[in-house]
């Protein structure tokens, strides 16, 4: 597939590591005992990173859901998280904008470094509200607010204190255009968002996240509640968004991961089993578990 050929490999010429990036290889293998040998050669020299999870563990009460995960997220690329249900994909993703903070008895351990500021997202000193403004999220099911289409997209902008009507209007329009839903809604911006179809609602939610101009985008199975045609539109959209953002996407759909992502991480039982370029993971996985999963032998 030309699309895969075009996107699956990490883009060349981008491998020079500048000061504000952290190469995966700067951590010695013995410090990452949980990582299999398979994940090590996942290109020691990656393009500039947007974020880097380092020894990230997460606990629901006493239950450890994530075990010291090391995962780099390359800027302007799509990283897919795959793995069987309950393996911790969504838990991992939700660490990035501190949604876990809303629930009692949860605990993070380790670091998620966000570049270029090199702030540790999960540090207690970091305000989760600030992080959520900087990192957009799209959820499993479309979750528009009980407001008009316009006000849904303007929500994040208003939270950021933008009051100017012209600026709001322009930025809402830009966001709706960049998520390819403008033509469908431009004549009914003041209608309730609940009047839209499921696929339209989900693209509206992506527009809502994009309008706030986040630094990166998290997507938690954004197509799981949609039919194939609506899913296809969202996948096209993800490929567009990649030009501006680092995207981290959780998916149960192997085809989707292979079509839409540049890098893929396979998780199992709260551990990262293998990480690498998407073509490598799907055509030449190093680990037996990864191979079994991507070929459909388990999970």
């Amino acid at each position: 597939m030309s699309v895969e050929a075009q996107f699956a490999q990490p883009r060349p010429g981008n491998t020079v590591l500048t000061g504000n990036t952290a190469p995966l290889g700067n951590t010695a293998p013995h410090q990452r005992p949980h990582m299999t040998e398979a994940s090590k050669p996942a290109s020691p020299q990656l393009p500039p990173l947007k974020a880097h999870a380092k020894k990230l563990s997460f606990f629901y009460g006493t239950h450890q859901a994530l075990h010291a995960i090391d995962l780099p997220l390359v800027d302007m690329h799509v990283t897919a998280l795959i793995g069987p249900s309950g393996c911790g994909k969504s838990t991992f993703l939700r660490c990035f904008n501190r949604i876990h903070d809303l629930y009692p008895n949860t605990r993070y351990d380790g670091e998620i470094i966000l570049y270029p500021s090199a702030a540790n997202i999960i540090s207690r000193d970091v305000d989760p509200i600030e992080m959520r403004m900087r990192i957009g999220m799209v959820f499993q099911k479309p979750n528009p607010f009980p407001k008009s289409i316009f006000e849904n997209v303007a929500y994040g902008l208003r939270l950021k204190g933008i009051r100017n009507a012209t600026e709001l209007k322009d930025r809402v329009e830009t966001a709706l255009k960049s998520t390819a839903i403008w033509e469908e809604v431009k004549n009914r911006l003041n209608k309730s968002a609940y009047d839209l179809s499921g696929g339209q609602q989900q693209r509206l939610c992506i527009a809502r996240a994009v309008a706030a101009e986040p630094e990166m985008l998290l997507m938690d199975e954004p197509c799981s509640a949609l039919d194939p045609i609506a899913s296809g539109k969202i996948e096209d959209l993800i490929r567009e968004l990649r030009k501006k953002y680092a995207v981290l996407i959780v998916t149960h759909n192997m085809q989707q991961a292979s079509r839409a992502s540049d890098y893929t991480a396979f998780m199992y039982m709260g551990k990262l089993v293998e990480f690498g370029a998407t073509t490598d993971i799907f055509t030449n996985p190093k680990s037996k578990e990864t191979e079994d999963y991507v070929t459909g032998r388990f999970g």
């Binding site: 600030e130 403004m133 499993q140 607010f145 939270l159």
Partner: protein
């Protein structure tokens, strides 16, 4: 409904070509047929019992409406309906009786309004706090404590109004009469708070977590999430809670009978004493009014008025619920 049983039984006799056709049906099939038959029978009995329970509430409502209509008919034979609705004086026990319901409606209206001014804001704030802000441990203490308020008998509330709230109010409003609608309304509002807060909280908690996560995920604070997303999503449930609170206030009897005075008084000033519809019904039904007189039948006319008021409110509430129901 009971089609399953005949099919299971009748299928066999027709199957003449089958190897077991001469047996009629196998023991296994007989067993299943008997089981289905028994189950259908018990289903029919259970369905009948449940229908009777549901029908009884309808029958009782119809009975009440019939009773109110029949008993107030003699009243409306003596009193013109137009006079009843427009006369500004209610004095059924005077030598020259006047039957204008307006003073009673005004009394009911003012006490209810005062009660709602207390109960709706406080009840909503409690609900929002418990549902969106309170840590689990705090919620576990405050929620039962609030609900304990609704266990206080209303007569106790009535004397609380008369003995505590009125004297307290008199320090601010020196010429406040002992019996006044303000004090009765305030205490009635306190009484209604748990109804409003408990139902409102249920409505707020029914809003899916996914919507809250969407709002927090954009960087909203608790306050912004509560007021911009959760409350608008729960609006139909909140409306239902408010309507129930209003119905409680309109129907409340003891507090107003004790603390608001028993003099029909056409005024919208809450500092005045006045009588509500319910208080009048208590006054007359406890007094020595002769059965069969116009004065006696007037309590049914007053009761019918009350019924129409609350019915209208409930219909309005039902409309609101349908109008603003959100499909999450």
């Amino acid at each position: 409904m009971d089609s399953a049983a005949p099919v299971a039984v009748s299928a066999m006799p027709q199957g003449n070509q089958g190897p077991k056709a001469n047996h009629g049906s196998t023991p296994r099939e007989d067993q299943i047929a008997a089981l289905v038959k028994r189950r259908n029978a018990s289903n029919a009995v259970a369905g009948g019992i449940m229908f009777a329970a549901a029908a009884s509430s309808v029958a009782i409502t119809c009975g009440i409406v019939a009773m109110l209509t029949l008993e107030s008919l003699p009243f409306f034979r003596e009193v013109n309906l137009w006079d009843f609705l427009t006369d500004t004086m209610w004095a059924p026990l005077f030598a020259a009786p006047r039957y204008g319901i307006l003073p009673l409606i005004a009394g009911t209206f003012v006490t209810t309004l005062v009660a709602l001014a207390i109960a709706l804001p406080i009840g909503t704030i409690i609900a929002v706090y418990l549902s969106e802000f309170a840590p689990h441990t705090v919620r576990e203490v405050i929620k039962p404590a609030t609900e304990l308020l609704s266990a206080v008998p209303t007569i106790v509330f009535g004397y609380f109004a008369l003995q505590v709230v009125t004297p307290a109010l008199q320090t601010f409003i020196p010429d406040l009469p002992t019996f006044n609608m303000l004090s009765a309304g305030i205490v009635m509002g306190i009484m209604i708070i748990p109804y409003v807060s408990s139902l409102s909280e249920d409505a707020l908690r029914a809003v899916p977590m996914l919507l809250r996560e969407g709002s927090y995920g954009m960087g909203a604070s608790r306050m912004q999430t509560a007021f911009k997303v959760v409350i608008p999503s729960a609006i139909s449930g909140l409306a239902a809670a408010y309507i129930l609170g209003i119905s409680r206030a309109i129907g409340e009897t003891m507090i107003v009978a004790v603390a608001a005075g028993m003099q029909p008084n056409l005024t919208l000033d809450p500092r005045q004493p006045a009588e509500t519809i319910t208080a009048y019904i208590v006054q007359v039904s406890l007094g020595d009014v002769e059965h069969g007189t116009v004065a006696f039948h007037s309590i049914f006319a007053a009761g019918a008025t009350l019924f129409v008021l609350t019915l209208g409110l409930n219909v309005f509430g039902h409309y609101l619920r349908k109008r603003y129901r959100k499909a999450y």
